[in-house]
């Protein structure tokens, strides 16, 4: 092969590569999804007509540190500042994994078994009597199997003084619009110091309701306790809802084993699974002095049989929280999640109070490493791109 033929061959090969590249690019452009259809001409954005509105830029900063800065148009916010704050906020979030979070991030989830008490005006047929407030309490939102819920009611005037309400009728029924054939049952609210009522004659009327004893043993769904309320000639109505699981899909054994793994504390909860599927298990962790440290959640598939569920106290969370050890796992709850169904879960009997006391570790046993994952890196990369774009726009 001489020099002339070599150059000629090289040129032909290079040309072939270019042609191949053009073909590939053409094929790619032909096959990729079409870009979104061009939008028709759109009117200019209307501005809200709300002279007195107070607004903050959307990127309002991390937990608890956003100041009230007064009226300011979000449109006036430099995109760069918003992009930078979004990136900084995500970095802060992603210090710890989704399943092992600071307690202060979940303030309404740290005492899950506290009574739910609400206050409302006396309603009747959708109309409110503002002169009478009705306080309604329940010690559980979910019931499993034979469990019992305690319900109470108290009427007060605008000064908080108890009013002599009565409950002439209380009916336990399937919450509408549930389908099924469990007949309604009557129950009784009384202020007699019995059946869960704390003190006779204090103006608080109480009832204890056990759905399993009222024919709900085969029913899964919300149970409603519908009340008629009487205060002299005044009438009112209200209700309590409790989610009822007739048969537990699994049960916590109460046994917990602990181990230090990669600088984090893993609490493995024993669970006896009767019905396989996707489970959520949630627990709380306090330190030796009762300071709330962590909200832990695990979700995943469990097969039937004796299993363990790992709740992880992330190492950096311990380092940053500086708890007094040992730690206490408490108030564990769980449910089998039922995709696209209503109701969407079957509850497990809960473990209230302290479930496990850990060994005493040194803080040096824990890792200070941040959480790492593909998801985290994806978000950091995209938010960084937003910052870079905003800088040049």
């Amino acid at each position: 092969m001489n020099a002339v033929t070599l150059r000629s061959s090289t040129v032909r090969r290079a040309g072939g590569v270019v042609v191949l590249a053009l073909l590939l690019a053409g094929l790619y452009l032909y096959q990729r999804p079409p870009p979104p259809a061009a939008a028709p001409p759109e009117p200019p954005a209307e501005r809200p007509v709300s002279g007195g509105a107070e607004r903050l830029p959307a990127a309002a900063g991390p937990l608890g540190n956003a100041a009230e800065t007064g009226a300011q148009s979000a449109q006036a916010l430099p995109l760069l500042r918003e992009a930078e704050e979004r990136l900084a906020n995500y970095r802060r979030y992603a210090l710890y994994p989704p399943g092992s979070r600071p307690a202060q991030e979940h303030p309404d989830q740290m005492t899950p078994f506290a009574p739910v008490v609400r206050s409302q005006p006396l309603y009747f047929k959708g109309q409110a009597n503002d002169e009478v407030r009705v306080s309604l309490g329940q010690d559980r939102r979910e019931l499993v199997g034979e469990e019992v819920v305690r319900l109470w009611l108290r009427c007060e005037d605008s000064q908080g003084k108890a009013l002599p309400c009565q409950v002439p009728q209380a009916t336990v029924m399937m919450a509408p619009p549930s389908e099924g054939k469990v007949p309604p049952s009557a129950t009784r609210f009384a202020d007699d110091g019995q059946g869960g009522d704390e003190r006779a004659g204090d103006g608080t009327l109480t009832a204890a309701v056990q759905p399993s004893a009222l024919g709900f043993g085969g029913y899964h769904g919300p149970v409603r306790v519908q009340l008629a309320i009487a205060l002299g000639a005044e009438q009112g109505e209200s209700f309590f809802d409790v989610m009822y699981t007739p048969e537990e899909p699994a049960r916590f054994t109460g046994k917990v084993t602990e181990s230090l793994t990669d600088g984090s504390l893993v609490l493995a909860l024993g669970i006896q699974v009767r019905r396989p599927g996707r489970y959520f298990v949630i627990g709380r962790v306090d330190d030796e002095h009762g300071k709330q440290l962590a909200y832990l959640q695990w979700d995943g598939e469990l097969a039937a049989g004796q299993k363990t569920v790992p709740l992880t106290v992330f190492g950096k969370l311990v380092i940053d929280g500086r708890p007094e050890l040992p730690l206490y796992l408490r108030d564990v709850e769980g449910f089998l999640f039922l995709d696209d169904s209503a109701p969407d879960r079957l509850h497990l009997p809960r473990l209230a109070g302290v479930v496990h006391k850990t060994r005493v570790y040194s803080l040096a046993d824990f890792s200070d490493r941040e959480w790492q994952s593909e998801q985290k890196q994806r978000y950091l990369d995209e938010y960084q791109k937003d910052v870079d774009r905003a800088k040049v726009e």
Binding site: L6, S9, T10, V17, V18, A21, A25, R32, P33, P35, P36, A39, P40, P41, E42, P43, A45, E46, P48, G51, G52, A53, E54, L56, A58, A60, G61, L63, A66, E68, Q75, R86, N89, P98, G99, H106, P107, D108, A114, V116, R118, Q120, Y123, G126, A128, R141, A175, P176, P177, P222, E237, D241, F280, Q297, F337, D340, S341, E374, Q375, Y379
Partner: protein
């Protein structure tokens, strides 16, 4: 290695790099998803171009806007697949989403993020079929979705006392989900996968002021539109209201100490009591300021 071979390799690498670069940059698209609230089945689920709930589809409402429709009346859990289908379609792979939601649309996205935000999602090709489901792009999965933020017009994920009081038809499934204690127990509202919710709260309501505590927009109160945490609702108002604690702007706890859900920030409080709950077929009410901010920021 011969000169020819080196030249050939250099050209091949160059071509591959160009093609890969073109592929990655061309396929990265931002979308704006609008998730509506309670409605009497007037929208077309799976049709991402049907903006009938909101107003004229010609309005500026963010880059590549899509209407995420569901039946608007069934239980949240039984309709949530419509939202997840949309998130899978447009918010996976190289594509990212801005979200705007109204009323029970807040409930829908909160439920999706809390209970599915850490699940494995197939990356999709952003080309939906008539049911609103997209095909897989490359057969791989990712954890959760790609969402930049959520703007919330009068969010109802904390429920409404109009459900508690029987003011709405009790035969409707969604009305039962909107009972305040039920809505607040349905999922952990703090679990947003780190995505921020920016809340816009309206206060023009008068008709149900005896039932809805504090300021309201005629359907929901500030306790939910302002993202205030807790197992029940409570009374929150504007700074000029003497008889209720103030709903604060931003993430700070409300007057009286009530905390907001984490990753929720009040961006708009209706001190002028000018915004009601309803779109009125023309992007009106509290949806107005949300639409304007989305149009300005979702690019």
């Amino acid at each position: 290695m011969s000169v020819t071979k080196r030249l050939y390799q250099w050209l091949a690498y160059s071509v591959m790099a160009v093609v890969l670069l073109a592929a990655s940059s061309a396929q990265a698209t931002n979308y704006t998803l609008w998730i509506h609230g309670r409605t009497a089945s007037t929208t077309k689920p799976g049709n991402y171009a049907d903006f009938s709930y909101w107003g004229p589809s010609t309005a500026a409402a963010g880059v590549n806007k899509k209407a995420v429709n569901w039946d608007g009346k069934s239980y949240i859990s039984s309709q949530n697949y419509r939202i997840r289908d949309a998130l899978d379609c447009f918010c996976t792979g190289n594509n990212w989403c801005y979200l705007a939601v109204h009323s029970a649309g807040d409930y829908q996205i909160g439920y999706a993020l809390s209970l599915y935000g850490g699940s494995a999602r197939y990356k999709k090709n952003a080309t939906p079929n008539s049911s609103g489901v997209c095909g897989n792009s490359d057969g791989t999965t990712q954890t959760g979705w790609n969402i930049k933020w959520v703007r919330v017009a009068s969010g109802a994920s904390g429920g409404s006392e109009l459900s508690d009081a029987g003011s709405w038809a009790s035969s409707e499934q969604l009305v039962q989900d909107l009972v305040t204690t039920t809505a607040r127990a349905k999922y952990n509202h703090n679990n947003t996968a780190g995505v921020w919710f920016y809340n816009y709260a309206g206060a023009k309501g008068t008709l149900y002021s005896g039932i809805l505590p504090g300021q309201d927009d005629e359907a929901v109160s500030y306790h939910t539109t302002g993202g205030v945490a807790g197992t029940t609702g409570a009374s929150f108002g504007n700074p000029s209201d003497w008889f209720s604690n103030d709903l604060t702007l931003g993430t700070a706890a409300c007057e009286g100490g009530a905390a907001k859900w984490s990753y929720h920030s009040v961006s708009y409080r209706d001190d002028g009591e000018a915004m009601n709950h309803y779109a009125n077929g023309n992007w009106q009410g509290i949806i107005g300021p949300v639409r304007a901010d989305v149009a300005a920021n979702a690019k």
